[in-house]
């Protein structure tokens, strides 16, 4: 099994995201790290769905032998939408927090 495949890169992205949340002091960088985590998750799911030599799951003139599993793709659409709204809300909150606290530094505003 190839070591560099979607699953492992997904996991590495998640770890990079966690590292970002744990160490970065700027709140926008923390939100970006959350986004990186989610991207990693999306990659993870999509690579789970991948079947070697599979084709797209569309019924056409010919019978497909191996199809890529479409369910995780659907799940990831949902996840992407959820993540989008969460990020939008987070950025709106950051705007409000900046208005009140005058700083984006996590240490200074004691988040």
């Amino acid at each position: 099994m190839n070591l560099i495949n979607g699953i492992s890169i997904g996991l590495i992205l998640i770890l990079i995201g966690f590292f970002g949340i744990s160490t970065r002091k700027n709140i926008i960088k923390i939100i970006l790290s959350l986004n990186i985590c989610f991207m990693g998750i999306i990659l993870f799911y999509i690579s789970i769905a991948y079947v070697e030599g599979g084709t797209i799951p569309v019924l056409g003139p010919f019978e497909p032998i191996d199809i890529v599993d479409p369910l995780p793709h659907a799940l990831m659409l949902t996840t992407a939408v959820v993540e989008l709204s969460t990020t939008a809300l987070a950025l709106a909150l950051v705007m409000k927090v900046y208005e009140k606290y005058e700083t984006l530094n996590v240490r200074e505003m004691k988040l």
């Binding site: 949340i21 744990s22 970065r24 240490r107 004691k110 988040l111």
Partner: protein
């Protein structure tokens, strides 16, 4: 006939409901008949109760089955409890606050239930409810000191109650720890030394009827718990002898140094329950009967003394011994009642205190126990000479009586004094009526030397105290037990603060903690 026994505690409960839901004007007088009813019904049960019978109550929609067990022990204690409650309610009928009467009636029915209950869990539940209700009674005056004292009372009582609950729960699993926890819980709730500081703080600030009930009944229920349930826990009660002796001495000598009349009486409660525990822990028949009789008598004469103090406070408005004086000419009935009470507690014939102390003295083996016994009696005598002299005798103090005490108070005091005398003279008859037999001849002249010795030592102590002006201006001793509790309380708060400050960090640390926890769980279970 067994249904009638359930009405004993249902009628006060009904009285509570009546007081709660019907805001009529003079309705607080309904409390006295309720208590009186219970008293009468319990008297009616004496012939049946001697043989002991049980009755199960099933509460609607509650899986807990309440079994009432009535035998001579329960009957004795509930009789004196109902008498005291009735008298105290008569005394307190001048207080127009409906909530006060409501809480006392509720307390009465819950305490009755706790003494009647056969199972440990029922006992615990009722004791816990009584503790909460008593808290609200203690803080009835709502001054800042009473609220502080109420909190301390509550913490101690809750600790004791929860130790009792713990011991009930782990009884099958860890029997030895359960036994120790039960005993310690009951000791805390009863106010034995070294857990007596809540008693000393709660009494001065509570209204006097509540003090009478607190000292007279509520501490006794825990002692009843020890007597009744110690066999279930297979615990060796004789180790409690040390606590008994400690309470006796500590109570008496603390009382000698106080100048607040209710604090004096509170410390004497500590000392007298030491006597009760002494009787119980001696593990002999005579000792047990002596302890029980002292329990009954103490309820009566301590209730009487607290009600006298209540009358004094009502009339003069002060609790301080140094401001009182010469009240005997203004308030004859409280003076007589207080004299009866002081003589009873000092153990002078023909009052009831003498009978029980005599039995206890006979039961205690000679040696250091008798020595401590005599010293404590002497200290009691000295303390009450001081109390009586400085309040009723002598010239008028700084605070002469402002108002006359109402008739209900006088009646209550007279009834209790009469009961003290009657239970003193007819002690043996009363006990055999309830089912206990004693063979000691209390009215023997052989006891006179001991009595004279006690009185003599007491007078001597008082004299020394007056001469060295220790009694008039007591030294400020910071009792180390009080400090210990304060320090431990502060330590807990300090630990809490440090702990809380450690947990308050930035979000980076939180995220790191989450990742660490994840890794830790995985590694923990992979091993």
């Amino acid at each position: 006939m067994t249904l009638l026994i359930t009405t004993v505690f249902l009628v006060p409960l009904l009285g509570t409901m009546l007081l709660m839901f019907f805001p009529l004007k003079k309705l607080q007088y309904v409390s006295v008949p309720c208590a009186l009813y219970s008293c009468i019904i319990l008297c009616a049960y004496i012939p049946e109760g001697i043989h002991g019978f049980t009755h199960t109550i099933l509460i609607w929609m509650n899986p807990l089955e309440f079994t009432i067990l009535i035998d001579k022990l329960a009957l004795l204690i509930t009789l004196v409890m109902s008498v005291l409650f009735t008298t105290v309610l008569v005394f307190a009928s001048h207080m127009k606050n409906r909530k006060f009467h409501m809480l006392i009636l509720l307390n009465f029915s819950v305490l009755l239930l706790s003494i009647f209950s056969q199972s440990l869990l029922g006992f615990y539940i009722c004791i816990e409810m009584a503790a909460v209700i008593t808290y609200f009674l203690i803080i009835h005056k709502k001054t800042p000191q009473s609220i502080n004292a109420g909190l301390i009372y509550f913490i101690f009582n809750i600790t004791g109650a929860i130790l009792i609950l713990l011991s009930i729960i782990i009884r099958t699993e860890l029997p030895s720890i359960a036994a120790r926890l039960f005993i310690i819980g009951c000791l805390i709730k009863a106010g034995f030394a070294p857990f007596h500081i809540w008693l000393a703080r709660a009494h001065p600030v509570a209204p006097s009827p509540v003090s009478a009930l607190l000292s007279g009944i509520m501490v006794k229920v825990s002692i009843y718990g020890i007597i009744r349930f110690a066999p279930t826990f297979t615990v060796d009660i004789s180790l409690l002898l040390i606590i008994a002796l400690l309470s006796m001495l500590l109570g008496v000598f603390s009382a000698l140094l106080q100048s607040d009349i209710k604090k004096i009486l509170a410390y004497h409660t500590v000392s007298q329950i030491g006597f009760i525990l002494l009787g119980i822990s001696l593990m002999s028949d005579t000792g047990e009967i002596g302890g029980l009789l002292h329990l009954v008598n103490h309820a009566l004469f301590k209730g009487l003394l607290f009600l006298c103090a209540g009358a004094i406070i009502y009339a003069t408005g002060t609790r301080n011994l140094h401001e009182l004086g010469g009240l005997a000419k203004h308030m004859p009935i409280p003076a007589v009642a207080c004299l009866v009470g002081s003589l009873a507690i000092s153990g002078i014939p023909p009052f009831n205190g003498y009978v029980s102390k005599c039995i206890l003295y006979e039961a205690s083996p000679s040696g250091y126990i008798s020595l401590i016994f005599s010293i404590t009696c002497a200290g009691t005598v000295a303390s009450f000479i001081k109390l009586y002299w400085h309040t009723f005798m002598g010239s008028s103090g700084k605070k002469p009586p402002q108002r006359a005490i109402p008739f209900s108070m006088k009646m209550a005091l007279l009834v209790l004094s009469g009961l003290c005398i009657i239970t003193g003279i007819f002690a043996q008859h009363i006990l055999s009526l309830v089912g206990y037999q004693i063979e000691i001849h209390v009215w023997n002249t052989a006891h006179i030397p001991q009595i004279a010795l006690n009185i003599g030592l007491g007078v001597l102590l008082y004299g020394i105290g007056m001469k060295s002006s220790l009694i008039v201006h007591p030294p400020q001793i910071r009792l180390s037990i009080d400090r210990f509790y304060q320090v431990s309380g502060d330590a807990v708060e300090y630990a809490g603060k440090k702990f809380h400050d450690i947990l308050l960090q930035d979000i980076n640390y939180y995220a790191l903690t989450i990742v660490f926890v994840l890794a830790a769980i995985y590694i923990l279970f992979s091993l």
